[in-house]
């Protein structure tokens, strides 16, 4: 359909304050909706670790070691493929750049693609270029408090420039890969890259 069909009598609620800040097809919410496809995993911090795995070798941090890494506080807009966007969310976490540098020093070799793997088996795939260069964090805090389990705590990936399903909740591992490998939603009809500004919601969009 080239021309969108005009819905008789529909006016809608324009969000002028959001102009320029809201990707196409999104609306602003002040809530923080929770979305996940299964029960919320509960991993005790004593059993939690984080792994950055490259070819042949891996770097691993316990919860305490992870807490000792340099931390950043970032304020970002987030956009969920289910159409809501939330402005000015405040997160605390470790930049993926920091993890890559630490892992690199331990001999972990990068690859052009990343697969994030979570407790419960969730996965999502991203190009390395989209988690490096100050674009992504492993967040353990939200709004000044530890990240709640339903929002992905103890730690979730934060990749705010892509639809939020890429910001894997309960993340435990980043695998650096030679080849791209579709993650969970990416295998179930969602877009492989997921740029909200190009409205890449589903496979085949753009």
């Amino acid at each position: 359909m080239s021309e969108p069909f005009v819905s008789r009598g529909f006016r809608g609620r324009r969000q002028s304050a959001a102009a320029g800040r809201l990707p196409p097809g999104q609306y602003e919410t002040r809530d923080f909706p929770v979305l996940s496809a299964g029960p919320t995993p509960r991993t005790p911090l004593a059993a939690w670790d984080f792994t950055l795995r490259g070819r042949g070798t891996a770097a691993r941090w316990t919860w305490e070691e992870f807490q000792a890494l340099p931390r950043e506080t970032v304020t970002v807009d987030i956009h969920c493929v289910t159409k809501w966007s939330k402005f000015g969310t405040v997160w605390e976490g470790v930049s993926v750049d920091t993890l890559l540098a630490e892992a690199g020093a331990q001999g972990v070799e990068p690859g052009p693609y990343v697969l994030a793997v979570s407790d419960g088996g969730y996965t999502t795939n991203l190009p390395l270029a989209d988690v490096a260069g100050g674009k992504a964090w492993v967040a353990t805090g939200y709004d000044g408090a530890p990240l709640a389990p339903e929002h992905g705590g103890p730690a979730r990936l934060l990749v705010p420039h892509l639809y939020f399903w890429k910001s894997a909740k309960w993340v435990r591992q980043l695998r650096l890969m030679e080849r791209d490998e579709a993650g969970f939603w990416e295998s179930l009809g969602y877009h492989n890259f997921g740029d909200p500004w190009r409205e890449q919601r589903y496979a085949g969009d753009e």
């Binding site: 359909m1 969108p4 069909f5 819905s7 008789r8 529909f10 006016r11 809608g12 609620r13 324009r14 196409p24 097809g25 609306y27 919410t29 809530d31 923080f32 909706p33 929770v34 979305l35 996940s36 496809a37 299964g38 029960p39 919320t40 995993p41 969920c80 493929v81 289910t82 159409k83 809501w84 793997v117 979570s118 419960g120 088996g121 969730y122 339903e150 992905g152 939020f164 399903w165 910001s167 909740k169 309960w170 080849r179 791209d180 490998e181 579709a182 969970f184 939603w185 990416e186 295998s187 179930l188 009809g189 969602y190 877009h191 492989n192 919601r201 589903y202 496979a203 085949g204 969009d205």
Partner: protein, 284 residues
């Protein structure tokens, strides 16, 4: 993922190795787009004081699986657009695609769908969407459905599909896919599909329907009268040893507590599929 999703848990602890994966990723980028289609409203059915079912004729509709949803897009005269996701309530076997929409007083899209649309009006949508929260008879049973409020909609698609496929089937076929529904609504008149659920229940010894009313149950009410809790699930749900396929849909607090209770009772987390409903998927 309508009331869709950012994140998930699944059975696969290790993603499959290269053969599937390397073809899957490029295939995704080559896939045909999910086209916007112009549906016609065939019928508007009041379900409760707040919910209406829109029965739609969708030219070129590719078919769906029970549990999937569509994206609806409204366009104003000046080009302003709003999109929302709605679950499909009809069975794949039915001709019309039915969406049941609950009116949110402060909503931007739902009041238009419930109050303005008339038979003969048209509506843009695309779908079906979602490949996780789906069930069909071929997947087998037992089936455990837990709904809160309008979270009944995608579960109703599963029950309707099941009823259509099993119509005329022998007892053996029925007993292979027994189903139990536990449905929480606030009040009696807010129970969506109330009469149809009663009919399905009466005509099928392998389907159990349990209702709980959390506010103002009628004086003669003999069903549950509290929020779904672990004890209620232990009473109503299939025991974990039966390995039911569980689908939980409703507002976030209900989904969170029901999913956690099911895991607590010993159900395999990978067999518990969830989907959130509400203004924005259910706020917390």
């Amino acid at each position: 993922m309508p009331a869709t999703s950012e994140t998930v848990s699944t059975a696969r602890s290790e993603p499959t190795a290269s053969p599937t994966a390397t073809t899957a990723a490029p295939a995704a980028s080559r896939a045909r787009p999910i086209a916007w289609r112009l549906a016609s409203v065939v019928d508007v059915v009041p379900e409760t004081p707040r919910a209406r079912t829109l029965r739609l004729d969708v030219p070129g509709w590719p078919g769906h699986r029970a549990g999937q949803h569509v994206d609806v897009r409204l366009t104003a005269e000046d080009g302003y657009q709003a999109q929302r996701s709605y679950s499909i309530g009809s069975a794949p076997e039915e001709l019309a695609v039915a969406l049941t929409v609950e009116r949110l007083d402060d909503g931007e899209v739902s009041p238009y769908l419930t109050d303005e649309l008339r038979p003969g009006d048209r509506l843009e949508l695309r779908g079906p969407i979602g490949g996780h929260f789906v069930w069909d008879v071929a997947l087998g049973g037992p089936l455990l459905l837990v709904a809160g409020g309008s979270g009944i909609v995608p579960l109703m698609a599963m029950l309707r599909h099941r009823a259509i496929v099993l119509a005329g089937a022998n007892d053996g076929a029925r007993h292979r896919v027994p189903a139990r529904l536990l449905y929480s609504a606030r009040r009696w008149d807010e129970v969506i599909y109330r009469d149809e659920l009663a009919r399905l229940h009466e005509g099928d010894p392998t389907l159990d329907v349990a209702l709980t009313l959390t506010r103002e149950p009628p004086p003669e009410w003999a069903g549950f009268r509290r929020r779904i809790d672990r004890m209620m699930l232990a009473e109503v749900a299939w025991p974990p040893a039966e390995r039911p396929h569980a689908f939980v849909c409703g507002p976030t607090p209900l989904v969170e507590s029901v999913a956690a209770a099911l895991v607590d009772l010993g159900h395999d987390p990978a067999a518990v599929k969830t989907e959130r409903f509400g203004p924005t998927g259910g706020a917390t």
